[in-house]
């Protein structure tokens, strides 16, 4: 975080939204801080876009309040809100030039022409489109359109920039590049960005905090690291990255530790610090381990806290990484193990029996 005392800029309280009988949002509470890169992440239909459109003022909540910069936004139309949006389709005005597009909002504010021209040029330089102001909208590539949309929002100097899946229409390479650029731009300007995305990688790499949404509710609101390392439930865990789920049960507390029996791996005692608040050990039924937290022990020199045995059933080579499918005894589904292809490490062929290393601190508990 940039500042030690985060100052809230957007406050969402008890937001619900119904379209006919369909409940798109079922009670959203969240606070978004000044200068924060905040993401709404979830599968399509989870209500993330509806929530963003409500902050923008295109939809009104059925109940609940939206505060922006300390002001209640009830009844305030989109054109009077201190927010600007980058649309998924970019919504570049087809009958205007790049400069006219970017200067559109400034013209509404009745700024003098020379000032508009200066601000527009500045905004275009900011998104690396300097000198392209005279271009017609239809002469732009997909990536350029995205930059124009961004410049058009930034030139308004809004309190909050809203981005509705801005990168989904770009190809992978450009998308990766834009992720970095967007993040750098946001940090440089210090403006709050709210990003809607269904791409977990995008959310993880760019955000300060992420709200993971399912079916109209926030399932978890946390930093990318917390989300990845300590997902609150199996749904969040499987939405963010890859997670191996294994059956497990608690066999009892042993001096401040929780004793776990994991049939596929073995027994282990977890320090109580690792037990999430509100988890009832009696209802615990499974654990999760990330692919990179399991290791195949290639030779005797490598050390692991615990060792289980498994059989390699398949491999997928990714250049820098190899993903192994490994069958563990007493577990129907193969687990995925990712191994870095470091020097001297050869790929274990399918059919080999290998020692699998694991440890207590990589275990996530689910009920």
């Amino acid at each position: 975080m940039t500042s030690p005392l985060p100052k809230p800029i957007i406050d969402l309280k008890g937001i619900t939204k119904s379209f006919g009988t369909f409940q798109a949002l079922k009670g959203i509470d969240a606070t978004i801080n000044e200068g924060e890169f905040f993401s709404l992440l979830g599968p399509s239909g989870c209500g993330k876009t509806t929530l963003l459109r409500m902050i923008a003022g295109f939809e009104m909540p059925s109940s609940g309040t939206i505060m922006i910069g300390g002001k209640n936004m009830a009844g305030v139309p989109a054109n009077r809100r201190p927010t600007n949006m980058v649309f998924q389709s970019y919504a570049i005005f087809p009958h205007l030039t790049v400069a006219e597009n970017v200067g559109y909002g400034l013209k509404t504010r009745k700024l003098p022409k020379a000032e508009i021209a200066r601000e527009v040029e500045q905004a275009l330089n900011m998104v690396d489109l300097g000198g392209l102001g005279a271009r017609a909208a239809h002469e732009l590539s997909g990536g350029q359109r995205q930059r124009v949309a961004l410049a058009r929002a930034l030139v308004m100097k809004p309190k909050v920039v809203l981005l509705d899946e801005p990168l989904s229409a770009l190809d992978k390479k450009l998308r990766d590049q834009m992720q970095v650029e967007l993040r750098q731009l946001q940090q440089k300007l210090g403006i709050t960005f709210i990003l809607v995305t269904h791409d977990q990688e995008e959310a993880l790499t760019m955000s300060d905090r992420i709200a993971v949404m399912f079916e109209g509710r926030i399932a978890q609101l946390a930093t990318p690291e917390q989300l990845y390392r300590r997902p609150v439930d199996r749904r969040v865990a499987s939405f963010i990255g890859v997670m191996n789920f294994l059956d497990a049960r608690a066999t009892g507390p042993i001096n401040g530790h929780l004793a776990l029996d994991i049939p596929a791996l073995g027994s282990i005692a977890l320090p109580s610090a690792q037990i999430p608040e509100g988890l009832d050990p009696g209802r615990l039924n499974s654990i999760g381990i990330r692919p990179e937290m399991l290791t195949i022990l290639f030779d005797g020199n490598e050390h692991a806290e615990q060792v289980a045995r498994g059989e390699v059933t398949g491999t997928a080579y990714y250049g820098d990484m190899t993903y192994y499918s490994v069958r563990l005894p007493g577990h129907a589904e193969d687990v995925t193990i990712s191994m870095r292809n470091t020097a001297g490490r050869s790929i274990v062929p399918a059919g080999s029996t290998v020692p699998v290393g694991w440890g207590a601190d990589s275990i996530v508990l689910f009920q």
């Binding site: 054109n79 998924q88 919504a91 005005f93 087809p94 009958h95 205007l96 559109y104 504010r109 017609a136």
Partner: protein
Amino acid sequence: MLTGERRQGLALISPTLLYSLLMLAAPLIMVLTFSFWTQNYLELDTTLTLDNYREAWSKPIYSTLIFRSLKISLIVTLVTVVLAFPIAYYLSFHVKQRKALWLFLITVPFWTSYLLRVFLWKVILGYNGVLNTALKGLGIIEEPLTFLLYNANAVVLTLAHAWAPFAILPIFVALEKIDRSLLEAAEDLGDGPVRRFFRITLPLAMPGVVASTLIVLIPTIGDFITPKLVGGTDGLMIANMIQIQFGKANNAPLGAALALSSMLIVASISAVIFLLGKRFGGKVQ
């Protein structure tokens, strides 16, 4: 050599092409030829001459009729397009379900013959017509109003009603094509509904408006049934005069010269409207 694709294309359009050549180009060439000849009572003098054009462009009666035709059809076009726009807008932006039903209803007037619809206006506007009877019955007037029928206003009213569906549909299509996120973007950037309409909706609907304008303007300048039936003497238009020249007056060459002259004028006006629309609608692709 023709490539396979081009040959296929030509084969596809050739029946239509042949038909248009026969039915459009051939008569046009005939009329063009006629306009340079002279009628000597019963026989045609085929010596080429510009006399017909000289007469068409110099005698005040013809220019009066042309100007009146232009004036009437411009007013008709203005009225029709201005009234059609809100209907098309409503259809496109406010009708959520049953759009097809609405479009279907708009075409209902076409279910009866155009002639019948003109007669209907005679019934409504006539001396003992629906309007006069109703106003008299309500005690608003004592004597029937006579300015309703047999004048230029009646022609405007009848034509505007008849051409409304043709004007609504192109505007509707243009409005339907506008990406709704553009309107949201304009609002997001600070525009209220009115500014947004003039900066985004109208410029992007311009191709439809231009199409509507031309679709209504071009045929109404040359209309002769409506002025004949409801126009009276001061509602007569240039097409009526052309008809007279080809018929009663037995002066086809003059009629041809008049027809070609008005065609030239209509074409120039259409070109101007097209260019203006393009300029206002801007660089829409």
